[in-house]
């Protein structure tokens, strides 16, 4: 495996993709699990499938159109969540299906040989190209710079939106910023785990981290480490046994979360 790693570029690409994904799962995953934005993130991810389809149809790089779809849906969902508490779930569910439906329609309009849709739906870490790595690195950089540049403001906003307003922080700006960061991270993760499986990687590592660590920096670091481990294990298994990498990564992530939940229960009981 080690020898293969230096020999094959696709393994090196897979490694870098794992690393970039892990960093983002650390930062954005913690926000999503602390604010319980799982439904929203799922909605954004699935809506982006419409963008993937449109990209194929128009002959543009699908990741670009997918980015447009996910950012726009993130902003819509954010607006709806703010306005109507009860309606927001409905809107998310509808966007979720609508995005998928658009993707199906667009790809079925395609003439000729069908593109590899599965790679977008379920991810394929072994098929990540150099150009994908470049896009991922760019997104990762944007997310990290924005996050650390405004770290304390974002934390303040996440902790107490109402108070942030009184302390003079513009809540609309931060709300939209966070939504856009979530949308970009989902796009970044699509090549690795795919649209359908992305939620596991955005929730399991950060949820596991939150069981262990009670401060946010620690949670970000731990959750990155976990994600990296999950991706590498997934990579290893899928390379050696040629199973879908996205699916293996999700299996590993979910099982690890369940085990840590169990351990956490046992330790808590002992302490009592």
């Amino acid at each position: 495996m080690i020898k293969d790693f230096f020999q094959y570029e696709f393994l090196q690409n897979a490694f870098w993709a794992s690393l970039l994904s892990a960093i983002i799962c650390g930062v954005i995953g913690v926000i999503i699990s602390q604010k319980k934005l799982f439904m929203m993130a799922g909605g954004i991810a699935h809506t982006s499938y419409g963008g993937v389809g449109l990209g194929f149809l128009l002959g543009i790089e699908p990741m670009i159109t997918a980015t447009a779809f996910s950012v726009i849906s993130a902003l819509i969902i954010g607006r709806v969540r703010k306005k109507g508490g009860r309606n927001s779930d409905i809107i998310i569910a509808l966007l979720w299906s609508l995005g998928m439906a658009l993707g199906v329609v667009f790809t079925s309009l395609l003439k000729g040989y069908p593109p590899d849709i599965n790679a977008y739906l379920f991810g394929n870490i072994l098929a990540v190209k150099k150009s994908d790595i470049l896009i991922m690195a760019l997104f990762c950089l944007i997310i990290l710079i924005a996050f650390f540049m405004l770290y304390n403001y974002i934390i303040s906003f996440l902790f107490d939106e109402t108070f942030a307003l009184v302390s003079g922080i513009n809540p609309v700006f931060f709300e939209n910023l966070i939504l856009i960061l979530i949308a970009l991270s989902i796009i970044l993760l699509i090549r690795v785990v795919g649209i359908i499986l992305v939620m596991a990687l955005l929730s399991a590592p950060s949820a596991t981290a939150s069981l262990i660590c009670k401060n946010i920096k620690g949670q970000i670091i731990l959750s990155s480490v976990f994600s990296f481990a999950f991706c590498l294990i997934g990579l290893l298994i899928s390379y050696n046994f040629s199973v879908s990498s996205g699916a293996v990564i999700v299996f590993v992530a979910v099982i690890s979360y369940l085990i840590s939940l169990l351990l956490n229960k046992i330790i808590n009981r002992k302490n009592r």
């Binding site: 602390q34 304390n152 108070f163 942030a164 003079g168 009670k214 946010i216």
Partner: protein, 212 residues
């Protein structure tokens, strides 16, 4: 000493068809300690939120320090009802207090200095939370959390401090302590506007009671 800091004229607020506040007028002067009391649902929180600019649709006139409240946020402190916070958010007490010193200007890569942390410790000590700096906010009891919110509001260095039921869920002794802290602040010329259901404490400490 008689400057009017909050002036409300003919204020009415409604949620859809339902009128929560009808035609209220009142003035609050600098240096007062005002307690707003009244039964559940008479519109105390609504009044506070309108004055703070959270509710945008109302009729009548509301001025804080002679201006639209948005322009004087840096002179205002606010202690919300605990429900608005993410109670289990993974930050330390110290950090939660210091969030009040951010804004309105956004400074890129703004991190807190030793000096900031020292100030936070002082404020925490004032509300009886000495040594709590590094604890996670999620570990605090209801009353401790409430006191942390007061320390956070004080970190804003306010001229006017608004509090929405700061002693709900708090034992009588601690509630009294919180009121006496506020009274102390009030003597140092901070105007206080506080919503409460505790008539006893309101009578003991406030300079004016408004019964909605």
């Amino acid at each position: 000493m008689n400057e009017t800091v909050i002036s409300i004229k003919n204020l009415s607020v409604s949620y859809g068809k339902y009128d929560a506040i009808q035609n209220i007028s009142l003035d609050i002067k600098r240096g007062e300690f005002v307690c707003i009391i009244g039964a559940n649902g008479v519109g105390k929180t609504t009044l506070l939120h309108t004055v703070l600019g959270f509710i945008k649709q109302y009729s009548g006139e509301v001025k804080v320090l002679g201006k639209n409240v948005k322009r004087v946020y840096k002179h205002i402190g606010f202690v919300p009802q605990t429900e608005t916070c993410e109670k289990n958010f993974p930050i330390t007490v110290e950090k939660a207090v210091l969030t009040a010193t951010l804004g309105p200007k956004i400074i890129p890569f703004k991190y807190f200095s030793k000096n900031d942390c020292y100030k936070a410790s002082k404020l925490l000590e004032n509300v009886g939370l000495r040594g709590y700096e590094k604890r996670a906010v999620g570990e605090l009891s209801g009353g401790e959390f409430q006191r942390m919110l007061i320390a956070r509001a004080l970190a804003q260095n306010p001229e006017i401090l608004f509090l929405d039921e700061p002693t709900a869920n708090i034992d009588t002794e601690t509630a009294d302590k919180i009121f006496s802290i506020l009274s102390e602040l009030n003597k140092n010329s901070v105007t206080i506007v506080l919503v409460t259901h505790d008539l006893g404490l309101a009578k003991k400490y406030s300079t004016k009671i408004i019964n909605l």
